[in-house]
């Protein structure tokens, strides 16, 4: 009996100590995009185990992330769709890219395996417009003379929730297909014109629908295509080369992009030049307030982001994200020095 009592007392004491220790640690709160959530959660976990700094990231969607950082209820926001420079200035926010991801097309056609089907931007646009509605359409056959394509109706699978992935994909279609640009446009959510189109929530929703609907084509983040072992397609890039998606091909897109002349890093990584550039890719962004209310927190955040840039690359690659090129990281650091202020002074970290 006595033993139990002592144990209980010791336990309570330990818990109190743990509580104290936690209260002393710094906690950073962030919210936003769901696309980078897997890598953000790994980074925060690892960083916490190394430094004790606790970072809560809520994957509530880009829209919510933007709203919350504007309302100053979080320390940092995250969004897949970059804010335009004017919007940034108006809300007094600083924006910079964190990590890059690629969007790939997956199909469910009997007899067609991963990397076998070749598509071009124009044909893809016509498929998603509903102009090409059968898999044995001459336009598709012409690109794939060696494949046996069935005379099956094409079902287009897309995201139903507003998403950065959709934004990247529709921006690409608007770049390569004038008809798409005119009829549909680009956005986090659009009106899908094809008669045979079905929607799924999240990447997993679209991946699931392509898996169960024979004759379907959909766009997902690269990681989902790999994890679900789906038949991704080749795409023709700006240089006229047919490529299969790979981390190198996404890196090519990021490296060839003209970051320098993009204020607020507002930049599409779609349709970038270079033989090895995958044509559909995009960065996901972090948003900070220009005037940081708490210098210690601001420094902790910048330290964390620097750590992610410098030590997070391998973890990112494991999850099929592409780390930011070094040159871009240096540019981001220059932006911090120039635009971020705490108590009227640049943040030292």
């Amino acid at each position: 009996m006595k033993k139990v009592m002592w144990l209980a007392v010791a336990l309570v004491g330990l818990m109190a100590l743990a509580g104290l220790a936690q209260a002393e640690d710094l906690t950073l709160n962030g919210a936003g995009a769901s696309f980078p959530y897997p890598i953000y959660s790994q980074w925060t976990h690892k960083y916490n185990s190394l430094t004790g700094v606790k970072i809560n990231y809520q994957s509530i969607g880009s829209g919510g992330g933007i709203a919350q950082i504007k309302a100053k209820t979080v320390d940092f926001g995250a969004s897949d769709e970059p804010l335009k420079p004017e919007a940034l200035a108006e809300a007094k926010l600083v924006q910079f890219p964190m990590v890059i991801g690629g969007v790939v097309l997956v199909v469910n056609i009997p007899g067609v395996g991963p990397g076998q089907l070749k598509l071009t931007g124009e044909v893809l646009g016509d498929i998603f417009l509903g102009k090409i509605s059968k898999w044995d359409d001459p336009a598709i056959k012409g690109l794939n003379p060696d494949l046996k394509l069935p005379s099956q109706a094409i079902t287009v699978a897309h995201r139903t929730d507003g998403s950065g992935t959709t934004f990247i994909f529709t921006s690409y279609l608007a770049m390569v297909s004038p008809a798409w640009k005119e009829k549909v446009g680009a956005g986090k959510a659009v009106k899908w014109p094809a008669a045979n189109s079905i929607g799924g929530k999240g990447n997993e929703g679209v991946a699931g629908q392509v898996k169960v609907v024979s004759g379907a084509i959909g766009y997902v983040e690269y990681a989902y295509a790999l994890q679900n072992k789906m038949a991704f397609t080749q795409l023709k890039n700006k240089s006229g080369k047919f490529l299969s998606p790979s981390l190198e091909a996404f890196q090519g897109a990021a490296a060839n992009a003209d970051w320098k002349n993009a204020p607020g890093y507002y930049l599409m990584l779609n349709n970038q030049p270079g033989d090895q550039s995958w044509p559909i890719a995009g960065a996901t962004y972090i948003l900070l307030q220009q005037d940081q209310p708490n210098a210690a927190k601001a420094a902790a955040m910048l330290k964390y982001f620097t750590w992610c840039y410098e030590h997070g690359g391998e973890m990112a690659a494991k999850l099929d994200y592409v780390p930011l090129p070094k040159t871009v990281v240096e540019m981001v650091k220059a932006t911090w020095a120039k635009e971020l202020k705490a108590d009227g002074k640049p943040v030292t970290y």
């Binding site: 829209g63 659009v190 929607g199 169960v212």
Partner: protein
């Protein structure tokens, strides 16, 4: 205690007030939700007017929103569910009460009640990964082969769409309707049934002329309970309805419902008109559900009067 305790009467009045306040919570909550929905829908109501209910153009890029496809999908998927579930539920209930041996009845009843305990997301995932492909491979080609001349069953069999959503909904509301109907049938006094049998009536005659009329009020109550559940069901429908903002004649075609649209699009809607349009859809669903309940009450009252039987 010989004298009356003055605290008792005081306690009574306290108790009365306490319960009154508690019962006030529900109407206040209802009114609050309604007003909040109206307030947030105002921008959309002002911008689109009645057109919102008629137009099926849902375009976040140009900020044009019309909720017709969602409203249509809500009603059609519910109708399909009711058409399938109601006769099935009544047939099962009759079998359990009138025809089955007590042992069988007990086992089947328990299984039906278990069906009601399955969370809706399980129905959704099962619907998408198991039932959808089954529909595409077997049911839809069969329907197309036999009834393909009807516009209802045209188009490529994808497995996901309005029909699949309706059938999944039917599975979901079946246990509710069935369990209540069974209870209602059990409450029909044995004396009444036995006298009918005594007069030489067959089981079918007893069912048609005694059991069903006697339990009609309860059955209708059960129907409306199922209807209410089907109208607002979200997760399962979102998985299988196909989520396309369009109205198609074919039941094979993908569609959407109010609840599925809200579930899909609310989290990432940033534009004020977009959010407001989603709110207005919520308001429409609120009103539809409310009307269904009022309709149910009205019908029940009428039935009470004309039959002067029931529970």
């Amino acid at each position: 205690m010989t004298k009356a305790n003055p605290a008792t009467s005081k306690g009574d009045s306290y108790f009365k007030w306490l319960t009154a306040i508690c019962s006030l919570i529900t109407p206040l909550l209802m009114a609050g939700i309604f007003l909040e929905l109206v307030a947030h829908s105002l921008p959309s109501i002002k911008k689109f007017g009645v057109g919102f209910l008629i137009s099926q153009n849902w375009n976040p890029v140009t900020e044009q929103f019309g909720g017709a496809s969602s409203i249509y999908g809500t009603i059609v998927s519910t109708l399909i569910a009711m058409v399938i579930a109601v006769p099935l539920a009544i047939a099962i209930a009759l079998f359990l009460v009138e025809l089955a041996r007590p042992g069988v009845s007990k086992v089947v009843s328990t299984m039906i009640e278990l069906l009601a305990a399955i969370p809706s997301i399980i129905y959704g995932m099962w619907g998408m990964f198991v039932f959808g492909p089954f529909m595409a491979k077997h049911v839809q080609p069969l329907l197309q082969g036999v009834l393909g001349f009807l516009p209802l069953f045209q188009g490529p069999p994808m497995g996901l769409g309005m029909l699949t959503a309706g059938i999944i909904l039917a599975f979901m509301i079946l246990p509710f309707i069935c369990a209540i109907t069974r209870d209602v049938f059990q409450l029909v006094p044995h004396v009444v049934k036995e006298s009918a049998y005594g007069m030489g009536a067959t089981t079918w005659e007893v069912t048609r002329k005694v059991t069903i009329p006697y339990g009609l009020v309860g059955i209708i109550g059960a129907l409306f309970l199922g209807l209410g559940r089907a109208l607002g069901e979200t997760m399962a429908v979102t998985f299988v309805i196909g989520n396309a903002h369009n109205i198609a004649a074919s039941l094979f075609a993908p569609g959407n419902s109010i609840a599925s649209t809200l579930a899909n699009e609310f989290t990432e809607a940033t534009d004020p008109v977009y959010i407001s349009s989603l709110m207005e859809l919520g308001l429409v669903l609120f009103i539809i559900t409310y009307l269904v309940q009022v309709g149910a009450q009205f019908m029940l009252r009428k039935l009470y009067k004309s039959w002067s039987v029931g529970l």
